[in-house]
Symmetry: C2
Subunit: 326 residues, 2 copies
């Protein structure tokens, strides 16, 4: 009989709920995916989360007593002390006591953190940051998310909102950012900024064959971005290289500020372009940093792809369980 | 008889050694100041440090058994684990095992950290950051130093070189910084940058009455800077306001990254200009930051002036002593 202890990791997203049964080594034993349908409101979504847990536990074939806890990565901002969702543009909810609602239904201890943080925690615990004590995670997607591990722990800050790495200012006179300010890293380097740059380049006569894609789909899909970059599309190359350049400057600042052991780069843009992107970031970052902060630092691609958040959520549960045991 | 327990704080600088007997509330009971004369090499300087300790202890009138330890703020970079000075442009030394040398001579436990960190620790423990758990310290002087307190502890990082806040990049195409890179905060906002801006402004015909001072003394003294600013000297106002503006942008980034409870601004420039400078930083920073990172944050002037490092060094000693007691 398998007496392995496990936890449940839950990645609660705007479009899907991804649930996994995870052992302490970060191995996913079984999983479940469901549509979120957040517009139906918290109560049916909580029910679907519970169904997802039951399904994945059943698929793992483990008795309930071997499940030691539940971790959830949720859109934020959250109140971490109470596990309450304060407000989420992603789900359209306000003041939902997620932790208490789930604890009651599941009869298991539940720990909650925001989705950006759990993604970083996943890479730290089981991915590209494994073994380090000081790590930066930067996720270059539609926006730019991130998080910081200091002395083996997530940096939360005073109002539990630390880690907004996409909103470092890299040029006070730079382009307007979605946050309202000017010249944030996100305004130079996110997928949205890449799309905008491609459009601007096309307007200035730079050749590109993805402009219709951006216009038709209102976004450039990862697959298309990767293909165009590999094929040498001039506007795409220009926009992607600019993104990598600014992520490089931002990384340089973060190296001087945090002196981490490893910087993990993830998210759709990094996954689409791959090592070519990481290498550009690495080069710019290491050129612009103090020698001592450069020593032995690794700047690498994330490893866990879509599993980073669910595994980070599982790690939250393990951390809570192991702390209680002591 | 006074049975009060005390520690010794030592601020080892390039020009002077400042030693103080400090109680656990951060009160200085007695102190001593000596010239460093670093060019004589480590051994006579160590002897002078020991003399300074003996003098200040004698002045405090306390028996040796009431002294619980010694903390030192030293120019870096250091190896904190062994308390060794690796290399100091300020003292011109290399690989000096400062902690062991002092421990042997003083027969007391010695703890060492770099001068920037102990200055921040002093403000955290006994100054403007007292009571907070998450604090940023930014010292705007000849250069820009700083440090970060996370969860009540100094952020050190992987190679113990975290906290180089003056070298955040605020414009990759900005002015050349002393570190070799372009557009660092320090290149926009330090006293040296202010002097350079005044010279450039004067070249462009902006009126100023401090140009001769800068040329003659090769620097602008704090008193003169303060007078010229108060008198409305156009080039000085322009340069100081630009410094405050960029410190404001840098502070905004740090608020988004760390979400601290308090940002403490110190150093010669802040002391010279005072609340006018702090208010400009506060305004720019709060305009450029997420609402949740702005909530309840305080951006304030440092309180301890020349005592910040010696009191931070004392706090190092107290932390070491209290940890051993447990």
């Amino acid at each position: 009989m398998n007496e392995k202890q496990v936890v449940i990791g839950i990645d609660l997203g705007g479009t899907k709920i991804y649930t996994a049964v995870v052992d302490e080594q970060g191995k996913i034993l079984a999983s479940s995916r469901k549509r979120t349908k957040a517009e139906q409101g918290p109560s049916p979504v909580i029910d679907r989360i519970v169904e997802g847990v039951e399904e994945s536990v059943a698929a793992a074939g483990l008795p309930a007593e071997q499940i030691k806890g539940v971790g959830v990565g949720s859109p934020g901002p959250l109140d971490l002390k109470t596990g309450t969702i304060l407000q989420t543009p992603n789900l359209g909810w306000k003041n939902v006591p997620l932790r208490d609602l789930l604890q009651k239904k599941l009869q298991l201890p539940v720990t909650v953190d925001n989705d950006g943080n759990v993604g970083v925690l996943g890479e730290f615990a089981y991915g590209a940051g494994h073994g380090a004590q000081h790590m930066i995670g930067l996720f270059i997607g539609t926006g730019i998310g991130g998080g910081v591990i200091v002395d083996g722990k997530l940096l939360h800050g005073f109002n539990e909102n630390a880690g907004e790495l996409g909103h470092m200012i890299l040029d006070p006179d730079g382009p307007r950012c979605g946050c309202g300010n000017k010249g944030c890293l996100e305004a130079f380097a996110s997928r949205l900024s890449i799309e905008r740059e491609i459009k601007v380049a096309a307007l200035h006569g730079v050749e590109t064959f993805v402009l219709d894609d951006i216009k038709e789909n209102e976004r450039l899909r990862s697959k298309k971005l990767a293909e165009a970059y590999a094929a040498g599309d001039p506007a795409v190359k220009q926009a992607v290289n600019r993104s990598a350049e600014y992520v490089g400057y931002g990384t340089a600042s973060l190296l001087n500020i945090f002196n981490p052991e490893v910087v993990v780069l993830g998210g759709g843009v990094v996954e689409a372009i791959g090592e070519d992107y990481v290498e550009q970031v690495r080069k710019i970052a290491l050129q612009n940093v103090f020698k001592v902060a450069r020593r032995n630092v690794r700047i690498v691609a994330a490893l866990l792809k879509d599993d980073s958040a669910v595994l980070g959520a599982a790690r939250l549960a393990w951390d809570y369980y192991n702390k209680r045991k002591i």
